[in-house]
């Protein structure tokens, strides 16, 4: 579903945002992307949505070669990927309903059908009662839900959530994660960037850890089917996964573990 192969991204200043990153995510997986600020999590999301291009390497999303994608196809790619942005990117002068319906309008879906879809999704994420309010009138958790609702309107194959629990209290954060988990159970591949250890522990999903733009570990179990179908390109990733599988699940805490090993992480 998603594959990054030896991807590097160097900014014009010469700084490497990502160095030789390779990993693979299978369809229907829920994967955490962890790492400190500036480790390259958001850059990976930006590469997946073709907001930026890698300096080298290959980025594949659902058999689409994102790097070689013609510019007139970028909008098609973005319609396949729902994104919950770190700063939410809600339009402040539009109501929650108008924000959520935007991807459907952009896709040219007829108004009556679009309204029905949006109402269903808003009901599902629990913000239907706020449909006519403006973003400034909602709490952080409600805004996150609105951003998730907008990301889901086009029924994307992939949902990228960039620290969706960043500014939320623990209870609200868990509600958001449970919501994402429910979405994942219905078949949507989810990639979530987070710092929250409790969430990572609670869900026991695969974790991709980054530091200073480098992949420092992939832990947790990859779905069986995906291991069987992995090609040789991801062999080194498999080795890392095998290592993580050797460890008991309850001992696994990549954030604490790495902090113990390296203070920079």
């Amino acid at each position: 579903m998603i594959r990054l192969d030896k991807v590097s991204k160097q900014f014009s200043t010469g700084v490497f945002a990502l160095s030789d990153i390779s990993f693979e995510i299978e369809k229907g997986e829920f994967v955490f992307l962890i790492g400190p600020t500036g480790s390259g999590k958001t850059t990976i999301f930006r590469l997946l949505t073709r907001e930026t291009l890698p300096t080298s390497g290959e980025v594949i999303v659902d058999n689409w070669d994102v790097v070689k994608l013609p510019s007139n196809k970028i909008s098609h790619l973005r319609k396949k990927i729902g994104v919950v942005f770190q700063d939410l990117k809600l339009l402040m002068d539009r109501t929650i309903f108008e924000n959520v319906i935007l991807p459907l309008e952009v896709s040219g879906i007829e108004s009556v059908a679009a309204t029905k879809i949006v109402e269903e999704i808003m009901e599902k994420v629990g913000i239907l009662q706020h449909r006519d309010k403006f973003p400034i009138q909602l709490s952080g958790g409600e805004l996150q839900r609105a951003a998730i609702a907008r990301a889901l309107t086009l029924e994307p194959d992939v949902l990228l959530a960039d620290e969706p629990t960043g500014n939320l209290d623990q209870v609200t954060a868990m509600e958001i994660v449970n919501l994402l988990s429910e979405i994942n159970k219905k078949g949507t591949t989810i990639m979530m960037a987070t710092h929250n250890e409790d969430i990572i522990k609670a869900l026991s999903k695969r974790v991709i850890a980054l530091n200073n733009g480098k992949l420092i570990g992939i832990t947790g179990k990859k779905p069986k089917a995906s291991i069987e179908h992995s090609d040789k390109k991801s062999a080194n990733i498999e080795v890392k996964e095998k290592k993580s599988e050797d460890r008991p699940e309850e001992e696994f805490n990549p954030v604490i573990k790495k902090e113990d090993e390296n203070e920079d992480f």
Partner: protein, 290 residues
């Protein structure tokens, strides 16, 4: 193009009424000038046609001249091979023409009889440069009392019209360029204000034209409203001035200006407005929406 695009355009216009007013104002000024210039060109070309359709040389005869002598002179003129048309106007014909021209003024009609109006020959030449030769020939004839020579009137009017056309076209080009620059700036400012919204729309899958169309339609709308306002003001002014102008330019069939001409002009102006509006907003979109 979806209804939503039109709604977004209308929403953009309503969101910044002062910028919209500035854009419409500059477009109205441009089209007001274009309309006035068109009226001027239309009027002057009608005036030239009027003078060109008149006899180019008119020779008035002395009262005691006989018809046979006039016919003889007419034959001499025809023999030069330079004449395209000669028409004899008798004293009675002259009286009839006078009566027709002054039929609304009985006082002028009472005082005039056929005796005091001279017979005349109305002559047109094949080439305008032969007018001087014919003019001299007539002036030397003992039968002729006066020669009216219209070459100067036509040539002066033509040179004035050409000058007007040159100045007017230059001003229209300058005004159109000013309108384009102002529109590019206004649409550019609007794009800059909506930069974040545009970025969000692009990130959730909007293609280029989904973002571009509302701005292009906005430019076209300013152009169309400006053209209609300019046309309404200029046509209104013409309608108010028509009685005075038609009495001043008596004899020339310019007034009242036909509705067909006015609406035809509106149609052309709207097409020009669409082109100007679309061009300026497209330039702004290219400049500010990379």
């Amino acid at each position: 193009m979806k209804t939503k695009t039109f709604k977004t355009t209308w929403w953009n216009i309503r969101r910044s009424p002062y910028q919209a007013f500035a854009a419409v104002f500059v477009m109205s000024l441009t089209f007001l000038f274009i309309s006035f210039f068109t009226f001027l060109l239309f009027g002057s070309s009608k005036a030239i046609s009027y003078f060109e359709s008149r006899p180019q040389v008119t020779a008035f005869f002395k009262n005691d001249v006989k018809k046979a002598d006039i016919d003889n002179l007419k034959s001499q003129l025809m023999e030069t091979g330079k004449i395209s048309n000669v028409k004899f106007v008798s004293q009675q014909d002259a009286l009839n023409i006078y009566k027709e021209q002054n039929k609304n003024d009985p006082l002028l009609l009472e005082l005039v009889t056929a005796d005091i109006l001279p017979a005349s020959l109305e002559i047109s030449t094949i080439k305008i440069e032969d007018l001087s030769t014919i003019n001299n020939m007539l002036k030397n004839s003992p039968l002729v009392s006066e020669v009216v020579f219209q070459k100067d009137v036509v040539s002066v009017l033509t040179s004035w019209t050409n000058a007007l056309r040159g100045i007017g076209l230059s001003l229209i080009i300058v005004l159109s360029l000013v309108s384009i620059f102002i529109m590019v700036t206004i649409i550019g400012v609007k794009i800059s204000h909506k930069k974040e919204d545009i970025e969000i729309m692009r990130l959730i899958g909007a293609d280029r034209w989904y973002v571009r169309w509302p701005f292009i339609l906005e430019g076209i709308s300013y152009g169309i409203v400006g053209a209609i306002l300019g046309w309404v003001i200029s046509s209104g002014a013409l309608w108010i001035a028509t009685p005075a102008l038609s009495s001043f330019l008596k004899g020339m069939s310019i007034f009242p200006v036909s509705l067909l001409f006015l609406f035809g002009m509106l149609g052309v102006e709207i097409i020009v407005a669409v082109v100007l509006g679309a061009l300026s907003s497209f330039l702004a979109v290219l400049r500010y929406l990379k």
